[in-house]
């Protein structure tokens, strides 16, 4: 059947079971948008292309499916760049489709032309420029296959305007043939036997859970390993949610803003088993000082991650959906007791660390503590909400204080640290999970970076609850200036005339404000019960730091534990 290129794109999306697209129209994709109109394909119009790509990312993180976004050529494409890089750093399956100028205009600095393939080469798993309609079905098939298999990631397809208008007898290929692409699933099971041997010998083992567990949906297997062995667990920011925050074995997040127990356990353990982690510098600090006494075991799907930052003594390369069930099986075969896997002395020691140094606040009692805001939301949602954050102090407080229970329940930009990620990502998550509570914790700095998406939220009636942790400063910048730059607060104050409640209301979102601690519980309860979207502006003191903290380059056991506010 003869079809326009634009219609071919829509048919391919249907074949890939895409149920919604986020995007923004423009000259080069008008034919594509006409096809969307004619087929009534679900589409969310964001107010900025960056909003579209983050929304597709939030959708993908919350569901495990591949997120899709559209943008026009030139500035449309370049506005996607931050979102594509965000998805790349956190291994999120995403297909971005951009329009390109007509074939005869390519390479001539034409109106709204940008070499988006060139621009996105370092931040995509792969990308394509389609200049002939005959290539379109094959490219679409390959793009979705690459995005979702192996280590997931973003793929960009740049399609010339001419291709949308050309016609083709559409046949969607059933298979892909990529000579150079190997999406590894099963690896070498002998390595797992060696892991078991090492675990049996270890006196002070620790399991380090990362984002790979969330992405591969292997939280259940991970919990099984913990339940069978009782080995203490630490998590990266991206690994939160895989193991319930209140599980006795869970010591919390590790790294720069990790808990005392997690960081001390890392420094003292004799075996550290990293599962789907990439040993980010925010976790390791100086790699030479990271887990200095430990045998390092690394489970990962991507061979390039092993030995990249931290050298592994044992590596298990393969999909966690292959390796973790096998690990469980082999652990169970040994029929050892928890005490034999995790020695009582070690467990007692880490539990002592956990009791001894809980998370600290530097604020005097009476004021609104940011941690209290998060704990209250955690209590009200019973840890069952999808929590989304922007980037900064509020992100770390959320990671430290929310009681996560389930995988894929914490959406945050871990690798790139993208301010402005939260609101559109929350939109993407809420659209696909309408029955869930979706709560966004953001800062007065972050919310402004994509606040135009309040309009998208309102227009689609999505009941996202936005908590603005408003301390009237760029909190993390301010904290670093306080701690490392002699309190020279260079351009980190946002004190101004912006009224977030009015801003929300102007865009069609209900606005509430909390100024005193007595109001906090009432307002939060009200906000969570209200129908539709709500923004709660919580006025916080500006001097609260995120603690504990390891100074850049410091060792994980050299933590600033208490406030140093002066």
């Amino acid at each position: 059947m003869k079809m326009l290129g634009a219609e071919v794109v829509i048919e391919c999306l249907k074949a890939e079971e895409v149920d919604i697209v986020f995007g923004y129209p423009g000259g080069a994709v008008l034919t594509l948008y006409d096809a969307l109109f004619k087929t009534d394909f679900p589409h969310i119009l964001t107010r900025h292309e960056q909003g579209a790509v983050h929304a597709a990312d939030g959708y993908a993180r919350a569901t495990g499916k591949t997120g899709v976004c559209f943008a026009t050529s030139g500035p449309g494409g370049t506005n996607l760049v931050t979102g594509i890089a965000t998805a790349y750093m956190d291994s999120i399956p995403l297909v971005a489709i951009t329009g390109q100028v007509g074939v005869s205009l390519i390479g001539k600095d034409s109106f709204q032309e940008a070499d988006i393939c060139g621009i996105t080469t370092p931040i995509t798993k792969h990308n394509y420029l389609v200049k002939k309609i005959q290539d379109l079905p094959g490219v679409m098939k390959e793009a979705f296959y690459i995005a979702r298999t192996g280590r997931p990631g973003p793929v960009l397809i740049d399609i010339s305007k001419d291709v949308f208008n050309d016609t083709l007898d559409f046949v969607y290929p059933e298979t892909v043939c990529l000579r150079g692409y190997r999406s590894l699933f099963a690896g070498d099971s002998n390595q797992i036997d060696l892991v078991i041997e090492s675990l049996e010998k270890a006196e002070k083992p620790v399991i380090f859970v990362g984002g790979g567990v969330n992405i591969s949906g292997t939280s259940e297997e991970m919990r099984k390993v913990i339940n069978l062995t009782g080995i203490p667990v630490i998590a990266s920011l991206m690994g939160l949610g895989c193991i319930p925050s209140d599980a006795p074995e869970h010591l919390g997040m590790v790294g720069m803003h990790g808990t005392y127990a997690a960081n001390m356990a890392t420094m003292d353990c004799d075996l550290l088993m990293g599962i789907g982690v990439r040993f980010d510098d925010r976790v390791t600090s100086l790699v030479q000082n990271f887990a200095p006494k430990a045998t390092i075991i690394h489970f990962d799907i991507d061979p390039a991650e092993v030995n990249k930052n931290v050298r592994a003594d044992l590596k298990v390369i393969g999909d966690l959906r292959w390796s973790l069930p096998l690990l469980c099986e082999k652990i169970a075969e040994r029929s050892l007791t928890k005490k034999q896997w995790a020695k009582a002395e070690w467990v007692d020691l880490v539990q002592e660390w956990k009791r001894e140094k809980p998370l600290a606040s530097s604020l005097p009692a009476g004021g609104i503590r940011p941690q209290t805001v998060i704990e209250k939301v955690s209590e009200l949602t019973q840890g069952e909400a999808i929590i989304v954050t922007d980037v900064g102090q509020h992100q770390m407080w959320t990671a430290q204080s929310y009681n996560f229970n389930t995988q894929r329940s914490f959406l945050t930009s871990g690798g790139l640290g993208t301010m402005g990620y939260g609101l559109p990502a929350a939109i993407g998550a809420q659209i696909t999970l309408p029955e869930k509570d979706v709560v966004l914790f953001t800062g007065d700095g972050s919310i402004m970076m994509n606040c135009q998406e309040l309009a998208t939220l309102a227009d689609n009636g999505l009941p996202v609850k936005i908590i603005v942790m408003n301390n009237q400063v760029l909190g993390m910048v301010n904290q670093w200036q306080r701690m490392f730059y002699g309190k020279r607060y260079s351009h980190s104050s946002t004190k101004g005339c912006t009224d977030f409640v009015k801003l929300a209301e102007a865009m069609g979102v209900a606005g509430l404000r909390v100024t005193k601690s007595e109001e906090l519980n009432i307002v939060l309860e009200k906000a969570l019960k209200m129908e539709g979207p709500v923004l709660v502006d919580v006025l916080l003191p500006e001097t609260e730091d995120v603690l504990p903290m390891v100074a850049p380059g410091g060792r994980l056991d050299q933590m600033v534990l208490r406030g140093i506010i002066g």
Binding site: P122, A304, V306
Partner: protein, 165 residues
């Protein structure tokens, strides 16, 4: 330490840029890079000389390159018994007085003179990198105007091609 990688890639636009971009982006140093078609029409072979600290860093280069969708195969032929060649064209000052000396030098190196005029001549030489370096050094005395070198290519001895290594 210097290593030689034989990289087989799909013959598509932009692949060489992807490879060189990835290597330099990850802060590895490319010593030389040479690309050309192979016995299979849809395959290009790229010979890359890289300088890295140790085997761990080399493992990173190989693993990162392997992630590129268009890369079919990477063979480390550093320790494989192989033939290595580079082609150079060198434009040297030459006049009546020193031309015969130059011809002698060219003959000693088994190079070829491929262009002559009243002021200059062009020498063509293929061989191992060190041989070309040596010729360049000697020709410096005559006055080199221009050098163009292809970068190293390498092929293993014996029946096993890189694609089967």
């Amino acid at each position: 330490m210097k290593y030689i990688l034989a990289v087989l890639v799909e013959n598509r636009p932009g692949v060489l840029t992807h490879i060189s971009g990835l290597i330099s982006r990850r802060a590895f140093n490319i010593e030389s890079i040479a690309a050309g078609p192979t016995e299979e029409v849809d395959t290009t072979r790229i010979t890359i000389g890289v300088e890295v600290e140790d085997e761990f860093e080399l493992e990173q280069v190989v693993n990162q390159l392997s992630k590129l969708v268009n890369v079919i195969k990477i063979a480390n032929i550093t320790y494989v018994d192989s033939i290595q060649r580079e082609l150079a064209l060198i434009k040297v000052r030459a006049n009546k007085a020193n031309r015969s000396d130059l011809v002698d030098v060219v003959e000693i190196f088994r190079a070829k003179i491929v262009d002559v005029n009243r002021e200059t001549l062009v020498v063509e030489l293929s061989g191992e990198e060190s041989k070309i370096d040596a010729l360049c050094e000697v020709l410096t005395d005559f006055g080199i105007l221009e050098i163009v070198r292809t970068g190293r290519i390498a092929i293993s001895r014996g029946p096993v091609p890189a694609k089967d290594m």
